[in-house]
């Protein structure tokens, strides 16, 4: 009988320890997926921002707006008309691609993300395309389960 009680106690204690470890490991996995989601949101925004085609402009702007909030939304709304007009006039097309992205700081609510990207720009003068490098710092905020871009700056 004492053996049985000792075993029961050992099982209970070990189960408790396992539960605590599992909860802490889950918290780490949640942080990792939070980081991945913030990076994915930043990459998506930069790619869309550097991609310009006459036909795809409107859906792309709508997608950018869905992923934006605050000041960045204002920037997009303020610039979209003049930008679209300029693109049409210059017959420019551009394909954006992110070359690398990393997290500078992150917590549950805010993330600061660096993104380097290239845009392959084609117009009537350069039909073969010209590759231009770009660097950005982005501020993201978490709304529910998604990360939204609240600020975006071109950095030299």
């Amino acid at each position: 009988m004492p053996v049985l009680i000792a075993l029961l106690l050992a099982v209970l204690l070990t189960a408790l320890v396992v539960a605590v470890l599992a909860v802490r490991l889950q918290a780490h996995h949640d942080e990792q997926s939070r980081d991945r989601e913030a990076l994915a949101a930043a990459r998506r925004t930069v790619t869309d921002l550097l991609t310009v085609t006459e036909a795809g402009g409107q859906p792309r702007l709508e997608r950018l707006l869905r992923g934006a909030t605050g000041e960045f939304t204002q920037q997009l709304v303020g610039q979209s008309d003049s930008f679209t007009t300029a693109v049409r006039a210059a017959k420019v097309s551009s394909t954006g691609a992110v070359t690398e992205a990393g997290i500078a700081t992150i917590d549950g609510e805010h993330a600061s993300v660096l993104v380097s990207a290239v845009a392959t720009v084609r117009n009537m003068q350069t039909p073969g395309g010209q590759v231009r490098p770009y660097r950005f710092t982005l501020e993201l905020v978490r709304h529910g389960s998604t990360w939204l871009v609240a600020g975006l700056e071109f950095t030299p």
């Binding site: 075993l7 599992a22 490991l25």
Partner: protein, 158 residues
């Protein structure tokens, strides 16, 4: 009933202990990766500029300082580049160049390896230039933890 429960409980205990050991090990990897994130990022911020900072008047000590930030195959490559390109040019053109890290971020982190994205500014003066030249660039820096110290194990432009 009691005697039948003993072996069953013993098996359960063994399973729980094995599971606990596995979780504890995974948690340890996770927590060293978290430490690596901040330590690797701090090292990237501190060390990356050194590789592109030298003065033709103090080249040997500047290069020694830069080399002390590198490890592995990259250390060999860096030494070769310095010997064949940097050193001759620096002497000929009176090169003075200083790179500073403006921004740094973590691309990925493992207990002994961190990949960082670093935005650099570099100011160069030389007899070939009429005015100081400012270059901005982005580099992907691989850092390895060697005997407890984070060192640059790779660098490429992005």
């Amino acid at each position: 009933v009691a005697s039948a429960a003993v072996p069953a409980l013993a098996v359960l205990l063994a399973v729980l202990l094995a599971g606990g050991a596995l979780l504890a090990w995974q948690l340890r990897v996770a927590s060293t990766s978290t430490t690596a994130r901040s330590d690797g990022l701090a090292a990237a911020t501190e060390l990356t500029g050194r590789l592109f900072t030298y003065d033709y008047r103090s080249l040997p000590s500047d290069i020694a300082r830069a080399e002390s930030a590198t490890t592995g195959g990259f250390a060999v490559d860096y030494r070769d580049t310095v010997a064949h390109t940097v050193a001759p040019n620096a002497a000929d053109q009176h090169l003075v160049t200083r790179a500073t890290v403006r921004h740094a971020a973590v691309v990925s982190a493992a207990p002994d390896r961190v990949i960082a994205l670093v935005f650099l500014s570099q100011i160069t003066t030389s007899t070939k230039l009429t005015a100081p030249r400012l270059d901005n660039s982005g580099v992907r820096v691989t850092l390895d933890r060697v005997d407890g110290t984070w060192l640059i194990a790779g660098l490429d432009r992005v």
